[in-house]
């Protein structure tokens, strides 16, 4: 390859960590997680359709401690993807591109997802219908 004097883009780890990186990466990651979670929902519907016995075993799996932790993670993924998705829609409308606004909206979507997740599980546990 010919030697050039052009500047190289620095490697990934050179960049100072910023919250926008994390929101961007998490948006992708939660999107993938939700796609997988969609399969679980379909699985639950099929078990529901298959009859009482099948649905009871499905409830047993997702109601187990491991299942509950996974459900908690999935609920957070949903709320995070929802909050950050709304943020993206606002940005698609051409708003919020100042760096300070960008950072603030990043933190807002993170905080919003945590608040919504806690609120959701508080409601579920108080309604007494966990799984």
């Amino acid at each position: 390859m010919a030697e050039t004097q052009r500047p190289l883009s620095p490697h990934l780890q050179v960049y100072r960590w910023q919250v926008q990186m994390m929101t961007s990466i998490l948006h992708r990651a939660t999107g993938i997680a939700l796609a997988v979670g969609g399969l679980l929902v379909v699985c639950g519907l099929l078990q529901l359709a298959a009859g009482e016995e099948g649905y009871d075993s499905f409830k047993g799996v997702i109601g187990s401690p491991v299942g509950m932790v996974l459900l908690f993670g999935w609920s957070w993924a949903l709320f995070y993807h929802l909050c950050n998705g709304i943020r993206h829609l606002i940005q698609d409308a051409g708003l919020g591109y100042e760096i300070s606004q960008f950072v603030r909206s990043s933190w807002l979507s993170v905080a919003g997802s945590i608040v919504l997740t806690i609120a959701c599980w508080a409601w579920v546990l108080m309604a007494g219908g966990a799984a």
Binding site: L45, L46, A49, A50, L78, L82, G85, I86, H88, L89
Partner: protein, 85 residues
């Protein structure tokens, strides 16, 4: 219009703002896909909000719209697991 100045100048004069109105950038396509993504994203936001706040409403409208929504045969047939009679 002076066409005898330089290629770039000619191009910029011939470039028509109508392409922006039609949504044709240099990629020539993708505007429709972009809008469909935004439309479905907004619809999903609405769906999640309705499902979160009024889950009963969603289930009821679903069962009313499609009788036998909870009929096992529908789903078993839908995934092609139906036994031949």
């Amino acid at each position: 219009m002076n066409l005898h100045v330089g290629t770039d100048d000619v191009r910029s004069q011939l470039r028509n703002p109508m392409k922006h109105a039609r949504g044709l950038g240099s990629a020539k396509s993708g505007v429709e896909h972009w809008w469909v993504q935004r439309l479905t994203a907004a619809a999903l936001v609405a769906l999640i909000v309705v499902a979160g706040l009024w889950p009963d409403l969603l289930l009821r409208s679903g069962t009313e719209a499609a009788q036998g929504l909870l009929d096992p045969q529908r789903y078993i047939a839908a995934v092609g697991l139906e036994q031949a009679p």
